[in-house]
Assembly symmetry: C2
Homo-oligomer: 490 residues x 2
């Protein structure tokens, strides 16, 4: 049984910090003009007190120096802190304007912190500003958590092939990295800078400042929560600047590996970005997917070429990166589009970004495995090696990555079967399962598609989907390893 | 470039042999009472002459001794012979009673020889006996081809983890195996014996002899072609013996590893069957799946417990093993049933059987990989090994099996996306892709479900599905390896 004191200490500190963060949406409510909106501030005040007190008490009870965390404590801390933050992050939703049940609140908070973006709320356009801001902040905080986790936790824990990125992150010859904390700070600063840049651009091109702030927070985190029921589509009125193109660009930026962005910035080595095989593969596939859908939309609907490109670029990038905004109900684009969106939903962005899904590098490694395997089949006595970013790929990495695919689709199939057990139709069950596991946001079909929401699902389905979101966000093995009896032995 | 002479020679001999086999349905037509049915004999006579002449000419042109086949010739021979047999096996359908286009005929023959069982024909109840018998014979011949391939070809070619079974099949200490030819003969004799037993039982319990023969041929081959539009359900009139229980038993037998059946018979070691981990896992999962569905059917519909069991056992075993018969339209059993049947469609039976799909042992190996991986994560310095049937599983086998899962689902997703590109709805496209790749037969939904057929699909969709069937039946890599430029070098 691993020593739980450090786990409790860090989790307590994080929960208390979340409580402090709740003072921001409280302030936003207090500044609201509408008295009904202003009244919402008490939800955040109460939740902040609860979180600061509970988190502080846990931290105080476990107080003491932490010298080092071993691997098992790393797993426990990751799962426990994520779960605790969701549990406390849900409180303002229960106490606030929409009188949500704890099930709905937990679903919404899990969907927020995991940057999924599935929502049970309709009527966003009239919601108090604190409520909207809290949803966006959960996604933004989840995004920074994921970036730091991808650099500091997953490679050390060797999750799903992430050991490929270990040497890169921890390369001691890179003298400018004084410590992991400094590196984490660097990643956070880049994330903050890019969010600020996105906000300024959206605002400068005509989006109201509050909406611009929220969308900047949920774009860089590839989260997808919006301030409007019609999502980003609500801001695309005639005569306005093409805000969707700005959002498209920043969804792509949010899906790039932040570790490589940081090195590029610190050293001024911008060519490094262009040389990274994951980035190249990502940009190539997303361009190919956009082009395919643009041709389809242009051929099928009565629109000009630029509109076909805009519609395709935004919605394809949104689903591909797992952001989950919509500018239109692409579920109504016909059978091919539905199949296409269903498939790209699983892909995601680069490792080390805020995006979820299978991630680009895993496809590269899997394709390398297939290639290696077919070459060995053709020439049993030949010696073949496959490389990733110039380094040979070991059999251990192949097994890690391919196991990840297996567990990913096994989880997806199990969740889809369970959801269909609640009487959901096939397309709803399949796409809801996919959207949870891949942390995308909207599903497909009339119930959970981009024009619908998840409110009508039975409570048990919401809990299952929340579990799926956590599994997907923590890359499965972080959670599964806790279920192994071996884990708790010795 | 490998030497193609032996490939051409063997393929030619097989095509000529197929031509000889066409004399059987020709005779069946000549014996028919209905003059319209009798007229169908010319289709088989013409096709037989064409096949015997073409195959014989190819064999004669390539005549000469074959000392040994190397690995690349093995791949080419497998793909080329399968394709040639389908191309010639389709001819009687073009010339025969239904005036099929070559696309439809090729689809039907591919679906037959790969033991898929998807059909473009409706009106089976009035079809000439030769036509029905030819469909059944194609499946039966495909079944024996698969059994011999699983023993003689796939392990040597190391396809998708099949090297696990290499030692078992080629174990030289097993003195009773004098040669590969003798072993193949043994496998064929067991297959013939079991088919005969199934025929006798079906006939003895009241199925007309011609129908009993056809269903015996397509049950042991887990093929699923029937002599009736209503499939096996047509024979379950009130007062009749429960023929479905007999068929259920033989679908399970057809999904067992024939190599182990042979050893058990030759040595009288029946305990060997019960000790084999693949057989145990298969029987356990199929029992669990049947029980789940039986409880669901009993709870949901107004039927007694025995009926719920019978309906579930037959249809679950049929889809699970990839046979594809139906006794009722289980697509109308509600959303959970549809999701459930969709998932079990991919599983299949044991390696070395006539069934297709992912196969039981690959799930065992994948689960072992997950377990091994999670244990290594929890204890990075521990040394863990996973076993299959008492032997340690190498990293090479893990990579083979997990690559197989990847290529399986990648092919499935690609085919589903392509089919939805022809305007098929989501459930039709998804289930048609799955049913082709997994060689099951019927899909789900009103178009291609157990109550429908594939006639209405566009021609291009039929060709794509036929390609998917071949890929699935030849375990992907046999075909993919031919597409590697490396394959043709040196
Ligand atoms: K998202
Ligand atoms: K079948």
């Amino acid at each position: 049984m691993p020593n739980l004191r450090p786990v409790l200490l860090v989790t307590g500190v994080l929960v208390a910090a979340l409580g402090v963060a709740m003072l921001v949406p409280m302030t936003a409510d207090l500044l609201a003009r509408d008295p009904a909106h202003r009244a919402d501030w008490t939800a955040f005040a109460t939740a902040a007190i609860l979180s600061i007190f509970s988190g502080g008490a846990a931290a105080a009870a476990a107080w003491g120096p932490i010298r080092a965390l071993d691997v098992r404590q790393g797993f426990l801390l990751t799962a426990a802190s994520w779960l605790a933050l969701v549990a406390f992050g849900a409180i303002p939703f229960v106490l606030g304007a929409f009188d949500m049940t704890y099930t709905d609140a937990f679903f919404e908070a899990m969907s927020g912190l995991t940057t999924t973006g599935s929502t049970v709320v309709s009527g966003l356009d009239d919601a108090p500003p604190g409520f909207l801001l809290w949803r966006s902040m959960l996604q933004w905080l989840g995004g920074v958590g994921v970036i730091i986790m991808a650099f500091a936790v997953l490679p050390a824990l060797k999750i799903g092939g992430m050991q490929l990125f270990k040497m890169e992150a921890w390369d001691t010859s890179e003298k400018f990295i004084a410590s992991a904390a400094q590196y984490s700070l660097g990643l956070s600063l880049i994330y903050i800078f890019l969010t600020a840049l996105c906000f300024v651009l959206l605002w400068a091109f005509g989006m109201p400042s509050f909406d611009a702030l929220n969308h900047a927070l949920t774009t860089l985190s590839t989260g997808g929560y919006s301030t409007r029921d019609a999502s980003v589509g609500a801001f695309l009125t005639v005569g306005r600047a093409p805000l969707d193109l700005i959002v498209t660009a920043f969804m792509i930026i949010g899906s790039l590996p932040f570790g490589i962005l940081l090195i590029a910035v610190l050293r001024g080595e911008w060519r490094r970005l262009a040389a990274d095989s994951q980035i190249r593969f990502f940009l190539f596939t997303i361009a190919a997917a956009t082009a395919t859908m643009a041709v389809y939309v242009y051929a099928r609907f009565d629109v000009d070429a630029f509109t076909a490109f805009r519609l395709s670029a935004f919605n394809v990038v949104s689903v591909f990166t797992g952001t989950g905004y919509a500018t239109t109900d692409y579920g109504a684009w016909g059978a091919f589009a539905v199949g296409f969106f269903f498939c790209i939903m699983f892909v995601g962005g680069c490792a080390g970004s805020t995006s979820c899904g299978l991630k680009i590098f895993r496809f590269q490694v899997a394709l390398a495995a297939i290639r290696l395997y077919a070459r060995r089949l053709a020439h049993p006595h030949g010696v073949f090696v496959e490389h990733y970013n110039g380094r040979p790929i070991s059999d251990e990495v192949f097994v890690s990555v391919l196991s990840f695919f297996f567990i990913y689709f096994a989880s997806f199939a199990t969740l889809a079967a369970a959801l269909s057990g609640f009487g959901l139709d096939a397309i709803t069950a399949l796409s809801a399962a996919g959207t949870a596991i891949a942390n995308v946001g909207p599903g497909l079909g009339p119930v959970v598609g981009p024009a619908g929401n998840f409110a009508s699902l039975p409570d048990a389905a919401k809990w299952l989907m929340a579990a799926g979101m956590l599994l997907g966000r923590l890359e499965f093995f972080t959670v599964l390893v806790l279920l192994m009896p071996d884990f708790w032995r010795r």
